[in-house]
Amino acid sequence: MSAALYCNAHAVVLAAGVAAVAGLLNGTVPWHLPFLGLGVMSASLIAESLASVPKRLVDGTSAPGVFVACVSIGLALPALAGSTAHLLFLRLLAAFYSVCLFTGAITCIGRRIRTLPSRSAR
C-alpha cells in the first residue's frame, strides 16, 4: 500500500504539473491528466509485480526487462487513448480505468510481497 501510494504520488504530481501548464495555456485545465499519471505508474507497478523472475542490477536497482516494458505500455494504452478522446464519457471511463489499475497495483504488490521467499533478514 505504501509503495503504491508513494510511487503514484510522484506520477500524479508530475502529471498535475503538465495539466497546470496546459491549463494556463488553454484556460481550461485537463483534469484527466493526473489520472493518466496514476494509470501509467500503476500499470508499471503491476507489470513489475507480475514479472516471474525480476532482474536486479549489481547496485540493487531493477534491470529493464522486455516483458515489464510491454505489459506496462499495454496496460497504460487504454488510459492514454481515453485521455486523448474528446468525449467526456470516454475521459471519465479512462479515469475510472486508471483507478482500477491503482487498486490492481496495490493487490499485485501485496501478492508479490507475500509470495517472496522469507530470506529478507539475511
Partner: protein, 381 residues
C-alpha cells in the same frame, strides 16, 4: 594514464557486454555469437525494409491526396520535431541518462579497465545514430517522392532539421555521460529567487504585446518562404556545428576523466518527510530511500522545470495580456499535445522512480517490513 586511441578490443568487449545485457533482458537462451549474428543481420535488413516501406507510404500519400507544398513541409517538420524531440527527451529524462555516468556497472567497467568513451560510443552514440538513420531514411524517401512539390531551398532547409536534431541529441548525451552523476543541488533560497525571476519574466513578456500593439505589425508576404527556408537552414547548420563541437569536446573529456572515483552522495543529513502519516510508517522509509538514490536528482529537476513553466505562464496570465489563454481553436491540439508529452514524460519518470523504489528493487525490504508489522506469525515460526 589516459590513452589517446580507442582500441578495437575495448569496443568489442563493450559491445559484447551490451549484447549480453540485451540477452538477459529478453530472457533468451541463445549463445552470444549467434545473438550477435542475429543483431547484425537484423540491423542490415532494417535499412532496405524501412526504405521500401517509407517509399510505398509516400507514394500512397501522393496518389490519394493532393496536398500543397506548405502543408507537406509543415507536416514533415512537425513529424521530425516530434520524433526527434521525444527521442531527445527520452535521452535526457529517462534511465538512459545514466548509461555512462552513474551507471550501475560503473565499478565493473572500472575494474575491467573499460573506458567511458567506449561505453558511450557503443551504448549511446550507436543508439542515437541508429534512430536518426532510420528517421533520415524515412525523410529521404518522403523528399524523393515529393521532390517536385518541395523543391530548391525548402528541401535543403527541411533536411537540415533532422541533422541538427541528431547533432543536438549526440551533444546532450555526451554532456550527460560526462557529468550526470555530479549534479549540484540548489538550495530553497536560490530556487525561490529563480522562481520569482521566472514569474516576473512571464509578467513582462505578457505586457510586451500590449505595449507594442500600436506598432507596426508583422507582414507575411508571399515571397517569405524562400528567406524563411534560408534562415531555417542557416540556424540548423549553426546549431549542428555548435552541437558537434560540444560533442567532440565532451567525448575527449570522457577519455580524460572517465569513471573517476567520486565521494558518495549519500549522507546522514538526508531531508526527512514533512508529512508523516502514522498508519503508513513505510512511506517515510520509502521517501528517505528515494531521496538518497541517484535518480531522485532527475525527478527533482523535472519538478523544478514544471514549476518554472507554471510560474512563467502564470506571470503572463496575471499580466492580463491577450496572448493567453490561446484562442478556442487551439484547445484540442494543445490538450492532445499535453497528453502526449505528459505520457512520454511519465514513462521516463516512472522508469526512474521504479528503478530504485519499485517492487523489484525493494522487494526484500518490503517483505521484511511486512513480516515485522503485518504478519508476526511468519517470523514466529
Amino acid at each position: 594514464m589516459p590513452r589517446s586511441r580507442t582500441s578495437a578490443s575495448g569496443l568489442r568487449a563493450t559491445a559484447d557486454f551490451l549484447l549480453y545485457e540485451r540477452l538477459n533482458a529478453l530472457g533468451w537462451n541463445v549463445p552470444l555469437p549467434v545473438f550477435r549474428l542475429l543483431c547484425l543481420a537484423g540491423s542490415a535488413a532494417m535499412v532496405p525494409v524501412l526504405l521500401t516501406v517509407a517509399l510505398l507510404g509516400a507514394h500512397l500519400l501522393r496518389r490519394t491526396t493532393e496536398l500543397p507544398g506548405a502543408v507537406l513541409a509543415g507536416g514533415f517538420l512537425v513529424l521530425n520535431l516530434y520524433g526527434g524531440g521525444v527521442y531527445l527527451l527520452r535521452e535526457a529524462f529517462s534511465r538512459r541518462r545514466h548509461t555512462v555516468s552513474g551507471s550501475p556497472n560503473e565499478g565493473f567497467y572500472r575494474a575491467l579497465d573499460i573506458r567511458a568513451r567506449d561505453v558511450f560510443l557503443v551504448y549511446c552514440a550507436a543508439r542515437i545514430l541508429s534512430f536518426h538513420s532510420a528517421l533520415l531514411t524515412v525523410d529521404a524517401a518522403f523528399l524523393f517522392v515529393f521532390r517536385d512539390v518541395l523543391a530548391g531551398s525548402v528541401t535543403l532547409g527541411l533536411i537540415c532539421v533532422p541533422l541538427a536534431l541528431c547533432a543536438v541529441t549526440l551533444a546532450v548525451s555526451a554532456r550527460l555521460a560526462v557529468r550526470a552523476g555530479t549534479a549540484v543541488t540548489v538550495g530553497p533560497g536560490v530556487f525561490a529567487a529563480l522562481g520569482l525571476v521566472v514569474f516576473v519574466t512571464g509578467l513582462a513578456a505578457g505586457m510586451l504585446p500590449d505595449a507594442g500593439a500600436s506598432g507596426v505589425g508583422v507582414s507575411c508576404g508571399t515571397g517569405v518562404v524562400g528567406p524563411l527556408a534560408l534562415a531555417v537552414t542557416v540556424a540548423c547548420a549553426g546549431l549542428t556545428v555548435a552541437a558537434l563541437r560540444c560533442f567532440a569536446r565532451d567525448v575527449r573529456r570522457l577519455d580524460r576523466d572517465a569513471f573517476a572515483i567520486r565521494p558518495s552522495v549519500r549522507s546522514a543529513a538526508l531531508p526527512a518527510m514533512v508529512f508523516r502519516p502514522g498508519r503508513l510508517p513505510l512511506l517515510a522509509v520509502l521517501h528517505r530511500h528515494f531521496v538518497s538514490s541517484r535518480t531522485a536528482v532527475m525527478i527533482k529537476r523535472t519538478y523544478a522545470v514544471l514549476l518554472m513553466a507554471v510560474l512563467l505562464l502564470a506571470g503572463v496570465r496575471v499580466s492580463g495580456s491577450e496572448v493567453l489563454p490561446l484562442p478556442g481553436g487551439a484547445e484540442r491540439p494543445v490538450t492532445r499535445t499535453a497528453v502526449a508529452l505528459g505520457f512520454v514524460l511519465l514513462l521516463g519518470s516512472v522508469e526512474l522512480v521504479l528503478a530504485t523504489s519499485g517492487p523489484t528493487a525493494l522487494g526484500p525490504q518490503f517483505r521484511f517490513a511486512w513480516e515485522r508489522t503485518c504478519c508476526p506469525i511468519v517470523t514466529s515460526r
